[in-house]
């Protein structure tokens, strides 16, 4: 068992962590290169998220957990600049990928999002496209040329755990698949541009339990190669799928990070009593 650096958690209960240098929650010795430093988010005047500093471990799944309205989805959308598409949205602090602040003026957000992909809550294959076109759509969008797109498509569908089910009907519409299959198609689509990090915003909340399990298996397999950050409302899911957890909370004001640690620690012996209460289902 590698030792997790837990020395830098919030000391005072209910106090949002604001100090960038001392409060960075280091999750792992092997660092994925993605981190936030004192990240804040606003919608208009509403301060939705305050002072989140967090580093993501490489090739693992980090679950963002917490009750509704605690800012975990907002935080996820900060990580690849999807936040700014909401009118009146604002942010402060830094999100760094390999040391580069992705909100810096010289960063092209579109190119950055090739490295940090995202899967959304509702399965949303492009309705006018076939399964094949859906998987390869990212390449077209980003004007990427590949030598063998058939091989790439097969690889992505295989990694998403969908290849066997669709290999005989690649020219069928994406909408003809079941909800769970559609979500795996969306995962395959995100993989085609070969991201380093995949952000997932409650990817199973619209699916039945069987499909949910399949997606969770897929997520675990993905984490052998890439870094996954997943927002989930479902504590069982967090315990099944994630290697690390970050617990967010709000006291009526902006959401903040309470603590982050290995999932097993978070579910058994968390530092903060509120974490224990939440994972045991006492509130939320």
């Amino acid at each position: 068992m590698e030792k997790v650096d837990t020395s830098v958690r919030s000391e005072q209960k209910g106090t949002p962590m604001t100090d960038t240098t001392s409060n960075t929650a280091v999750l792992d010795t092997e660092f994925a290169g993605l981190e936030t430093r004192d990240a804040h988010a606003w919608f208009g005047d509403h301060h939705a998220l305050a002072g989140v500093s967090l580093q993501f471990p490489a090739r693992s799944v980090t679950g963002l957990i917490g009750p509704s309205g605690c800012g975990k989805s907002t935080y996820l959308r900060l990580l690849n600049r999807m936040h700014e598409f909401i009118p009146s949205a604002a942010m402060a602090g830094e999100v760094r990928l390999h040391g580069q602040d992705i909100y810096a003026r010289e960063v092209d957000p579109a190119a950055m999002r090739l490295k940090i992909g995202m899967v959304f809550q509702k399965p949303n294959p492009f309705p006018a496209m076939t399964i094949r076109e859906n998987v390869l759509s990212g390449l077209k969008l980003a004007h990427i040329k590949v030598d063998d797109d058939e091989a790439l498509m097969e690889k992505c569908l295989t990694r998403a755990g969908l290849w066997k089910e669709v290999k005989d009907r690649l020219d069928a519409s994406g909408g003809s698949l079941s909800g769970g299959q559609q979500q795996r198609l969306c995962i395959a689509r995100s993989l085609a541009v070969e991201p380093e990090v995949l952000l997932m915003d409650e990817p199973c909340s619209a699916l039945d339990p069987g499909s949910t399990l399949r997606i969770e298996e897929t997520i675990k397999e993905l984490a052998e190669k890439i870094t996954v950050v997943i927002v989930t409302h479902n504590m069982q899911q967090a315990s099944r799928v994630s290697d690390y957890c970050a617990f967010f909370l709000t006291d009526g004001g902006p959401g903040y990070l309470v603590e982050a640690d290995k999932t097993r620690t978070m579910f058994t012996t968390p530092n903060d009593s509120r974490t224990a209460d939440y994972v045991q289902g006492k509130f939320g």
Partner: protein, 323 residues
């Protein structure tokens, strides 16, 4: 043992009196407009049937409009072929300009315009849709014709080898080309407003997905928004087409009635079905009036068909089958 098969029970609904009254009012309203439409069709057909039965198909294809003398020495000869052709040509030119303009305008309003600009422009657009076509006609004659003439001259000069752009005289005003451009400005408010409405219904998460895949705004519009809005935009264009086909006063001001098939869109040539009726009606002989009503029937069927196709396309697209 013999168990009786279950009998399906009827489900009664007791309507309150208020409910009945309201139901009566709304049904009456709906029926009235339908009946009115039917009666107009019947009236036009009844008055025009004599012309259809004497001229037959020639009424639609011939290119003569002669009101005969009362003593019968000069026979009546009514037909509207060139009018139908010009109606189609002018409307198509209008759509050729209006559809790309509306798509661009709608995309700008929905995806590029700053909030404040957007609100102002949408309000202006709705106002523009309410401007009487007479105003557009006057603007066309007084202002636009001088520009249109220059464009027409350019086309004839550079592309004169193409039959449609061929010209004999150097008279470029009062041409179907100019009239088409004015009609385009007349239908742009409607088509833009419909297109914007459909584009705004593009599911947000599809657009977000394009961004999340490393796409640009233009990429998202190309990949998701335009395919999603396709049938809605076609429907909106058809509504505009319906208006262009039936447009009377603007065309009346811009084109001379001219019974000749020429297909030269840059030269003075003229008149659509609606403006023919407006021009001739005031001083028509009794027989001529019958022919004009028959022409009205043709126009009625034409616009009704286009509008029906349009509304069915729009309905289909709003049902979410926009893909």
């Amino acid at each position: 043992m013999n168990i009786a098969a279950p009998v399906k029970r009827e489900m009664h609904v007791v309507h309150s009196r208020g409910d009945k009254v309201f139901r009566g009012i709304v049904s009456a309203g709906a029926l009235t407009s339908l009946v009115l439409l039917g009666l107009i069709g019947v009236f036009l057909l009844a008055r025009g049937i004599e012309v259809f039965s004497t001229s037959g198909f020639k009424f639609l294809t011939g290119s003569n409009w002669v009101a005969g003398s009362e003593d019968g020495v000069i026979p009546n000869d009514f037909s509207i072929g060139p009018m139908i052709v010009v109606t189609a040509i002018v409307s198509l030119i209008a759509m050729l300009f209006a559809v790309p303009m509306s798509m661009a305008g709608a995309l700008y309003l929905e995806f590029y315009a700053p909030q404040k600009v957007r609100r102002v422009l949408i309000a202006l657009l709705d106002l523009a849709a309410a401007i009487p076509s007479l105003i557009f006609g006057l603007w066309g004659v007084q202002v636009f014709t001088s520009f249109g003439e220059r464009w027409a001259y350019f086309l004839s000069d550079r592309l004169g080898w193409f039959p449609l752009f061929n010209t004999i005289s150097d008279n470029f005003g009062r041409s179907p080309f100019v009239a088409g451009c004015v009609l385009a400005s007349l239908v742009v408010p409607i088509t833009t407003s419909v297109a914007r409405e459909v584009y705004s219904r593009t599911p947000r998460e599809l657009v977000d997905t394009c961004f999340a895949l490393g796409g640009t705004k233009w990429g998202a519009i190309r990949t998701v928004v335009i395919p999603f809005g396709k049938s809605g935009v076609v429907g909106g264009a058809m509504l505009g087409l319906g208006r262009a086909l039936g447009e009377t006063i603007a065309v009346y001001l811009l084109l001379n009635i001219n019974f000749r098939y020429t297909f030269k869109i840059l030269e003075s040539e003229g008149g659509n079905v609606a403006s023919l009726i407006a021009t001739k009606f005031g001083e028509a002989t009794p027989d001529e009036i019958k022919a004009l009503v028959a022409a009205g029937f043709v126009l009625f069927i034409l616009t009704l068909t286009v509008n029906m196709i349009a509304s069915s396309i729009v309905t289909r697209s709003t049902k979410g089958a926009a893909a």
